[in-house]
Symmetry: C2
Subunit: 479 residues, 2 copies
């Protein structure tokens, strides 16, 4: 029989080696595993179900907001990718080429999509005729490939799952509204579903997407105080529609190029969940996306009636919750408790002979380890309330950390001291020159995260050069 | 203003040129379009929603039957593909290779998955330890790539969407049961959801999947009498688990290789729908997967109150049905009727000033063109019944055709005469030798479709060589 401590002892200390702790959790909670294809992971059932829960929720929100799903080819002729100069420069170092197929060398190399602005643009140009055809608000759920040098499961995989929305519009204003609308939807997904507070704003020119006029971002903060870009929404203006000839007859009967956006979230969100909520006991899953919300663990399960009662509870609860029963014979309850914590299951339900006699059971919260004894007749309502409370508590914990780890810096000395002691976000003014952004990066390892929608005024001068400040920027080291 | 006939006149005559009619429908009903990537299509919103409806239904059935979803890498190192001899021989001519990535030539070529037996096997070998870990019943929804020489939208695209299930089991019997169970689920999907009757059976050795011990298939029949392989389920025995070392400690404490299956359906089913149900007016969608089940077309829509009433009906109906309202100003009702038929929408709802006065509307069935006047207070129930009736009638139409087009042949002369006059299925006995199968193919263009589970005895001798018959086989020309 396995020892009760087996799970925990094999996980790196979260405060000593967060990076190792992270990959330990990914593997031992069976979210994903490495494969023979370097830099690419296999997402296992437990990890994939988290993604399905995120995807189903997001897809519903998208559809309520007029988004239509499509599927376009994963292979893009190289010449298409090259039509927008900044875009090809941004992605060229990271692409993978198909050069042989069907037993022959290809005349033109094909790129496995790193993103699909080019494919969408060329198809939009084929379909768009009149202002009456607009807007086209399309999205695809698919995988993309970017040949990263350093990879980390979920956070930076060569192949990853995502959704990419691509839209074209009649006016600049409508396109910009869509860009912001999608960012707000992403905020809802991350805050209301994943229980992680987000920072929301606009990227500096240096940090924006290759080919975009503006990139908007939501950023989350990890337990160890690093920023994680968790969703982006781009406004392209006519940067793609001109070279790709995406034009329409406008209401005045004149030809006009459409205005374009794109936006995406990915399986990186699973990384965000692990890094925002996890603790020394393992994963801690937000109830709304947890594949298992309640796990029933029978105590003294060979005693008469225990397993039957546990199964009866499972059947009753599965109408309202995602629930399972751990009836594995080869493990002790203690081992099962550890496993349940490692996997981040929000509620553990213990039921043994005495509980059955008393018509009750024990609920143990993953987030606070709090134990409560509950009458079986109140069980559904108690679990419902507890799941809600767990969500709120998990959000609050992250929000408190975010507040604690957000500091103001007025000069480079302050900036360096803060980032080296506490990581986190730094609020500081910026003159608008990329040189200062580069210098900050070089000295501190911090990138500009975003210019928030509501800019604050924390000093008059740039934190780096001391010249008059133009923007309020939030900075941080990143994953 | 566009002419009412605009749509119909651009579609090839279904009886004169079925192949051209098919691609016309695909494009003009906006299911899909060609792209700059040769042999790969773009699935447009209307086509993708059909796929989503199939996928959601299938995924639910799968999960009820113990299937868990995963996502594994699309790139497979060439050396992995080569571990099973028949498998690599079967797929080698059709694979695409990634040879350069991240600015460098790769040491080992990577194959874009044509199917994932190899990737699943190598990962199963990593995770499988004991009989307690079995079965593993995993599935992924993804795209695969096969470099076909001749392509046709949905039926044979280089890249296509599908699900591939891969399972490993403790015993041969359990694996075989899973193989058959999945075939039955496919039968349910195609018959109950798509309203297409299927032929079900086992492939001959010549026609089975590369590397399989047995391949089971469901076959559908197109309007022009050709067979379409619409779903397959394979039993592998230990063909992959031995070379991939997928072994476990069995209940006796000894090492044993697992028993494996795989099974898949794809967007080819959309092709099956078009080819089974379509007619001279366009697409005809089975109600259960139609993205729009009811389209409301207002008559004299600028008359006071018409558009408001139409919108009111839309809102009322959308609780129970997938419904939309065609309020486009630039088109006449006649044009809209044609568009509605072209897109295969099961029910057209017409409402004009007089109908409103009388508290009624007109329902027009796509399948029979039958018109009925319906009181608005009975509308929901009438539509519900009509959709059910449309499904049943569509199934019956296909079943009648299937019966009409199934013939018995006792010798090659009969075989050739039948196939050249009526196409369809031919029931004939076979000696079991591949030479006869090859000869039939050469002379008639017909392949063996399957050996049905319930074999009939239509003669004593092989339809080709006249030697004693071993099997009852159904034959047909294929897409």
């Amino acid at each position: 029989m396995a020892k009760e401590q087996d799970f925990v002892k094999d996980i790196a200390d979260i405060d000593q080696d967060f990076a190792k702790w992270y990959t330990d959790i990914v593997k031992k909670a069976e979210l994903a595993d490495y494969t023979d294809t370097k830099g690419c992971i296999a997402i296992r059932p437990y990890g994939y179900e988290i993604w399905e829960n995120i995807r189903n929720y997001a897809d519903k929100l998208f559809k309520e907001n007029g988004v239509k799903n499509v599927y376009f080819p994963m292979l893009i002729p190289e010449s298409l990718l090259q039509k927008e100069k900044d875009h090809v420069e941004g992605f060229a170092p990271e692409v993978a080429f198909v050069t042989e197929a069907g037993g022959e060398k290809l005349d033109e190399r094909l790129v496995i999509r790193p993103t699909s602005e080019t494919m969408f643009s060329v198809l939009y140009s084929k379909w768009l005729k009149s202002w009456r055809d607009l807007p086209m608000v399309y999205n695809q759920w698919c995988s993309v490939l970017r040949w990263e040098k350093e990879t980390r499961p979920f956070l930076r995989s060569r192949e990853f799952l995502w959704q990419e929305g691509h839209t074209i519009h009649e006016t600049k204003e409508e396109a910009m509204n869509r860009t912001i609308k999608m960012l707000e939807i992403y905020e809802t997904i991350v805050q209301d579903l994943l229980a992680i507070p987000v920072l929301k704003g606009r990227k500096t020119p240096k940090e924006k997407f290759a080919g975009a006029e503006e990139t908007y971002t939501i950023e989350t903060l990890t337990r160890d105080g690093r920023a994680l870009q968790s969703g982006t929404s781009h406004y392209f203006g006519q940067n793609f529609t001109i070279p790709f000839d995406v034009k329409f007859q406008n209401r005045e009967g004149k030809e006009e190029y459409a205005y374009q956006t794109s936006w995406g979230i990915s399986t990186r969100l699973i990384g965000a969940i692990i890094m925002a909520h996890g603790d020394e006991r393992g994963l801690k899953l937000p109830p709304k996306i947890a594949p298992i919300q309640v796990r029933i663990i029978p105590i003294a399960m060979h005693k008469e009636g225990v397993l039957e009662k546990a199964e009866e509870l499972r059947k009753m609860l599965e109408k309202d919750f995602r629930v399972d029963l751990d009836s594995r014979e080869q493990f002790s309850p203690g081992y099962k408790f550890n496993d349940c914590e490692l996997k981040g299951i929000p509620i553990r339900l213990e039921i043994g002979p005495r509980d059955i006699e008393n018509g009750e059971c024990i609920l143990v919260r993953r987030d606070t380890a709090e134990k409560v004894t509950v009458k079986l007749e109140n069980l559904n309502q108690e679990i419902k309330n507890m799941l809600e409370d767990i969500h709120n508590n998990m959000f609050k914990l992250c929000k408190d950390r975010l507040d604690e780890k957000t500091h103001i810096a007025k000069n480079l000395d302050e900036f360096e001291t803060i980032i080296n002691t506490d990581q986190g976000y730094i609020k500081a003014m910026w003159c608008g020159n990329q040189e200062c952004e580069d210098k900050i990066k070089e000295l501190t390892g911090a990138h500009s995260r975003c210019i928030p929608f509501q800019e604050e005024h924390v000093s008059d001068t740039c934190v780096c050069c001391g010249k008059p400040a133009k923007h309020f920027v939030i900075w941080g080291r990143q994953y």
